[in-house]
């Protein structure tokens, strides 16, 4: 199983340590670590990439921080995800998105990195609900309000 771990633009080193311990021989992992300090002799780490979609495509499962930019892009691509709240941050706003993904069964939610190993086992047999959204429909109205039309 190819696993890609991404933290978007915000470092979250403890997540990588947790995932590292959850891996076994059947896993192949790449970690996108942003400006973090994590390193490992056997795991490929990358910082920021322009073509992150390519990494998404090549992975069977993506473990992502609960940043909405990353999560929505992944759900729109129909990827299998484990969405992890970043508990290193002082604000807890990512909790909303973890709860949403979990409740709608779009992916697996993870509020605590101590659950990572369990989630990695669970995800192999997990069948996500396809992501559907109410498409944004106010672009024209915004142009009118700002007198651009």
């Amino acid at each position: 199983m190819n696993i890609f771990v991404t933290v978007g633009s915000t470092r979250y080193d403890s997540l990588f340590h947790a995932v590292e311990h959850a891996l076994n021989d059947s896993h192949k992992a790449i970690f996108q670590i942003a400006d973090g300090e994590y390193s490992h002799s056997k795991i490929t780490t990358i910082r920021f990439v322009k073509n992150i979609d390519e990494y998404y495509k090549n992975a069977d499962v993506i473990i992502t921080h609960a940043g909405a930019g990353s999560v929505y892009n992944l759900l729109e691509m129909g990827k299998k995800v484990i969405v992890v709240q970043n508990i290193e941050r002082v604000d807890a706003h990512q909790q909303d998105l973890v709860r949403f993904v979990e409740e709608e069964k779009y992916g697996l939610g993870c509020y605590d990195i101590s659950q990572i190993a369990e989630k990695v086992r669970e995800v192999e047999h997990f069948e996500p609900t396809p992501y559907v959204k109410n498409e944004f429909n106010k672009a024209k109205e915004i142009c009118e309000i700002l007198k651009l039309i």
């Binding site: 978007g8 633009s9 915000t10 609960a66 940043g67 909405a68 930019g69 929505y72 892009n73 290193e88 941050r89 002082v90 604000d91 706003h93 990512q94 909790q95 909303d96 998105l97 709860r99 949403f100 959204k133 109410n134 498409e135 944004f136 429909n137 106010k138 672009a139 024209k140 915004i142 142009c143 309000i145 700002l146 007198k147 651009l148 039309i149």
Partner: protein, 160 residues
């Protein structure tokens, strides 16, 4: 070239930027317009002029917060005044976070339009910036219907 009014766009790094990227591409299918940007990232979506500001609130330390906020407030205030002097700015649109508050207040006081989108990552709790912008913005949009009970007067826009 006809005299077009200029819009100020304000967005933070990460998800805020991603929302602005999507919003701009949708707006461009309806209107041809020029804009100026304020952000704590370098990415400017080809704006006429980009102003880089500091991060309004640190993600990791509570102690630095008051200083970061003050620094950000002064920077955005100066940038906003400079924009108003040089350009014919008519309106402001933002996907958050906090660096929008002072420019929005100034625009509002000058009778210019202010549009704010509450973050798409909010479902059950409001953001601090959202709670303030709910009273400042002329039009306040939410992207998740579950927020309607928290922001009764907000308009549900669908998700970017």
């Amino acid at each position: 070239m006809k005299d077009k009014s200029i819009t100020l766009i304000i967005y933070g790094r990460g998800g805020h930027k991603e929302q602005m990227k999507r919003l701009l591409s949708m707006m461009k299918s309806h209107a041809d317009f020029d804009f100026i940007s304020i952000s704590d990232t370098e990415d400017n979506f080809d704006s006429l002029k980009h102003f880089r500001c500091s991060e309004p609130r640190g993600k990791f330390s509570v102690w630095k917060a008051p200083f970061q906020l003050a620094n950000n407030a002064i920077t955005t205030l100066v940038q906003c005044i400079s924009i108003l002097k040089k350009f014919k700015a008519q309106g402001l649109i933002s996907t958050g976070p906090g660096m929008v508050v002072l420019p929005a207040l100034i625009f509002k006081l000058l009778g210019k339009k202010v549009v704010f989108l509450e973050s798409w990552s909010r479902f059950y709790t409001p953001s601090l910036t959202g709670r303030i912008m709910y009273y400042v913005a002329d039009t306040f949009y939410i992207q998740n219907e579950t927020l309607q009970s928290i922001y009764p007067k907000a308009i549900f826009a669908g998700r970017l």
